[in-house]
């Protein structure tokens, strides 16, 4: 009897299972369609932008000397790639950016740790951090050049002057926003301040630290390009300032385009890293 009943049940169970699967497939399909729709509009915007730019340049709607147009820009990039000139500049700039980016995040986080460790120090330093953060640090560039010589070190230090304090402020803030109850768990076991930091504060602030990485990618590029404006004989910032001085705006725009591409690639890398590291949150 029971056997018979379950036999009767099976087809309907099978049917409802099939229905669920169908619904899920339709949902996935719709999602995929939506994503591809967004992507195609994005691509279309890009194509329209470049096409308009090209037409406007060729028909002299815009001043070609100032704004150039895409085919000229791409031809410039292609020439520099073939002649090999581009790679040296690109390598120098990317190197400076990565070093500035990593050191900026590292020093900023370390400073935040020091301040967290001593609440007294944090109260003392608070107004100085705020003032220093709102100061245009780029103006310190000339001093760095005299101190470290016109080159790699001065450029990295210029970048650090931009990234370190803001990193400190953001990371320190996230240390303070960790749920006090998680800290209480450690305290109930008699944990020390160093254990409190290693077991709770640091891992809990990981998302904030990663998100400062995202901000710092942009900051590092600004720092490096400004640094190169001031001192360099190499790098994309140098190409921009050189193009500007010889009135070759095609060179300026092609350098900007390359920066946009490489900066986006770095940003994507950080996003990928974020997804890997924060899988379980």
């Amino acid at each position: 009897m029971i056997q018979h009943k379950s036999d009767e049940l099976l087809p309907s169970q099978h049917q409802s299972h099939k229905l669920l699967e169908e619904l899920h497939t339709t949902y996935l399909k719709r999602q995929r369609k939506h994503r591809s729709h967004v992507f195609s509009v994005q691509m279309a915007l890009l194509v329209v932008f470049f096409a308009l730019w090209e037409v406007a340049g060729r028909l002299k709607w815009i001043d070609v000397l100032l704004f150039s147009y895409p085919s000229k820009v791409f031809a410039q990039i292609w020439r520099d790639m073939i002649s090999g000139e581009l790679w040296g500049h690109l390598g120098v700039t990317v190197g400076e950016t990565i070093v500035g980016f990593i050191l900026g995040t590292l020093f900023g986080t370390l400073l935040a740790v020091v301040i967290w460790w001593s609440p007294f120090l944090s109260k003392v330093l608070d107004p100085y951090l705020v003032v220093f953060n709102s100061m245009p640090k780029v103006a310190l560039g000339p001093i760095f050049i005299v101190m470290f010589g016109a080159g790699f070190t001065a450029i990295v230090v210029t970048t650090l002057s931009i990234t370190v304090i803001i990193t400190t402020l953001v990371v320190y803030n996230s240390f303070n926003e960790v749920d006090p109850n998680l800290v209480k768990v450690v305290r109930t076991f008699g944990g020390s301040r160093s254990q409190m930091f290693r077991k709770v504060i640091l891992p809990a602030s990981f998302p904030a630290i990663i998100s400062t990485l995202k901000v710092n990618v942009g900051m590092a590029w600004v720092g490096v390009i400004v640094g190169e404006f001031l001192v360099a004989k190499m790098g994309l910032g140098y190409l921009i300032i050189y193009g500007f001085q010889v009135f070759n705006f095609t060179l300026v725009l092609s350098s900007l385009l390359i920066i946009a591409v490489v900066a986006t690639a770095m940003y994507k890398l950080v996003v990928y890293l974020e997804r890997k590291l924060l899988k379980h949150r």
Partner: protein
């Protein structure tokens, strides 16, 4: 018999920018091995303050806390503390969460690790140890928090409204589990709760506190047959309702007096 916890003329004053206020005044209390004692009372009676002082998280302004006859100066491994919510670390696996106390007290041996794993199994959490807290229900998470507290093998457990964030059904199940586990392991426990029926169902003794400042108003000894029953069944025992109303009336009268 040496009491597990002894409070002697315990007084605590909170000082803020605006004023200094008396939270707890002149509290005397002794709790003996294996006892399950509940602290109940209106808000502002200093329940959590008392628990924090027993745990060594707060220093009494006057008087002292003795654990096994020793004066308390800070958190000790003999005392386990269970918070209102699980507060599991989301970046740690269930097992890693359960082991945090052993890590912090530097007692993470292979034996202790195995013991913690079997504790997880005892609590019906087998198969979850490599998962993350976000994958567990509220009741399961609070059970992990219980394992985390028990893993360091404390003699005394302080329970700070550990059931308050759970839905009713889960709460009843967990009361049974915790009361049963603590009785079986012969732990001493102090429960802070605002739920009178919970206090009566799980305890040997219910201490009613009065507020502003916190002090003991009256102590109720729970009759043997209610004590022996599981918390869920205790609620159906003869005399339970009468006791509930007696505690309730006493608490009401103290609130009106304030």
């Amino acid at each position: 018999m040496v009491p597990v916890v002894e409070l002697k003329q315990l007084t605590h004053v909170y000082v803020s920018d605006r004023k200094a206020s008396l939270a707890v005044e002149g509290l005397d209390l002794a709790i003996y091995p294996g006892e399950f004692v509940s602290l109940v009372g209106p808000s502002g009676c200093g329940k959590t303050t008392i628990l924090s002082m027993i745990a060594g998280l707060l220093t009494p302004t006057q008087g002292e806390v003795l654990i096994q006859g020793q004066s308390v100066a800070g958190p000790t491994p003999e005392v386990g503390y269970m918070l209102q919510q699980d507060y599991l670390f989301p970046w740690r696996t269930i097992l890693q969460n359960a082991l945090i106390g052993l890590e912090l007290t530097k007692r993470l041996t292979e034996d202790n690790r195995q013991r913690t794993i079997s504790l997880l199994e005892e609590m019906g959490l087998e198969g979850t140890q490599d998962g993350y807290p976000s994958q567990l229900s509220g009741g399961m998470r609070q059970r992990v928090a219980l394992v985390r507290t028990l893993a360091t093998d404390p003699d005394l457990l302080l329970l700070d409204e550990p059931f308050s964030a759970l839905d009713y059904q889960t709460k009843l199940q967990l009361e049974d589990l915790i009361a049963g586990t603590l009785r079986q392991k012969e732990k001493t426990a102090v429960l802070v709760t605002h739920d009178l029926s919970e206090a009566i169902a799980v305890s040997d003794r219910v201490i009613l506190l009065a507020s502003h400042p916190g002090r003991i108003k009256r102590t109720f000894d729970i009759p043997e047959h209610i004590r022996q029953a599981q918390p869920l069944l205790a609620r159906e025992q003869e005399g339970f309702n009468e006791l509930f109303h007696e505690v309730w009336r006493e608490m009401e009268s103290s609130e009106h007096a304030d």
